[in-house]
Amino acid sequence: MKNLFRIFAFCLLVAAVFAACKDDETEPTPTQTLYERLGGIEAISAVVDKFLANVVADPVINAQFAATVADPFRTQLLRNNLIDQVCAGAGGPCQYKGKTMLEAHKGMNITEAQFNALVGDLVAALDFYKVPTKEKDELLGILGPMKSDIVGQ
C-alpha cells in the first residue's frame, strides 16, 4: 500500500514537472486568414462591385457580359458567385454555389487576350481600394490556376 502511494506521488511529481516545463511559445499563434486581412465580406463585395463595373466598361470583354447586364437576376447571380468564390478561396465562411469554371466557360471560346483583360480589371479594382501587394498577390495566386479551365474552352 505504501509502495503504491509512493508510485502515485512520483507520477504526480513527474506530471507537475512536465506541466511546468511546457513551452507556451511553441504553440502556433492563430494567424489571420486572407479573408480577414482583406477586410471581410463587405470589403470583398466592394472590390467585386468595382471589378464588375470595370468589366462592363471594358470594350475587350463587355460583349461577353451583354446577356448578364440585361438580366438583373443573372447580374445578381454573377456578382454573388464571384464574391463567394473570392471569399471561400481566401478562407472565409462563404460557400461557392456556382458551376465549376470549366462548366461555366464551356463553348464561350474565351481568348488569352480576354482573360488578361479580365485579370487587368481585377487588378485595377484591387488597386482602386489600395489592397496591399501581399494580399493582392495571394488572391491572384488563388484565382490564377483557373486560367486553364477558362481560356479556349
Partner: protein
Amino acid sequence: MKKLRLFAAAVALLGFAGWLSLRKPHSPTDDLPGVAFAAFQISATSPAAGQSLAAAAACWPGVRAATYNPASDVLAVIFTEKTDAPILQSKLSEQAKHPVPLKNFEAPDGPKCPVPASAIAAAPSFLLGVGMAAAGLWLLTFWPVPRKPQPLQQTDFQKFKTVSFTKITN
C-alpha cells in the same frame, strides 16, 4: 380519406426530397443588398472629364461602384435598389450638360436556355412550398370529421320509466 392521406404523404415526401437535393447552403453573400448594372455612352469631352463624372457618380446614394473607360467611352455603374437607371441617367445628363444615352450591348449569338434563370433558382423554394402544403394536407386528414347529429333515441331508462308508468296507471 385513406387515398388522400397516402397521396398527401407521397407528395410531401417528394417535395421535401426535391428541396433537400436542390437547396444550396446559406452564405453570407445572400445577406448582401441586391445590385443591378447600368452602362451609359457618355461622349466625354476628355478622359479626365469622364473620370471625374465616374468619381461623382460613385458618391451618389445607392451607387456601389462606377467606372469610366476612355477606350469605350462607357460609364458603367453598379447600384442598389436605393436608385435606378433612369435616375442615374438624368443625374449624369445634368452633370455632363448633354443627354447621356443608355448603352445597349449586343447579345452574343449562341443557344440560350429557354427556362429563365430565376425560375431555375426558385425551384427549391417551390418544392419546399409544395412539400409543406402536402404535409399540412396530410395532417388535416387526421382531423376528426364532424358527424351529422343523430335523431334522439329512447334510452333504456326512458323505456323503463314508460313501462313502469303504464303498469302503475293500469
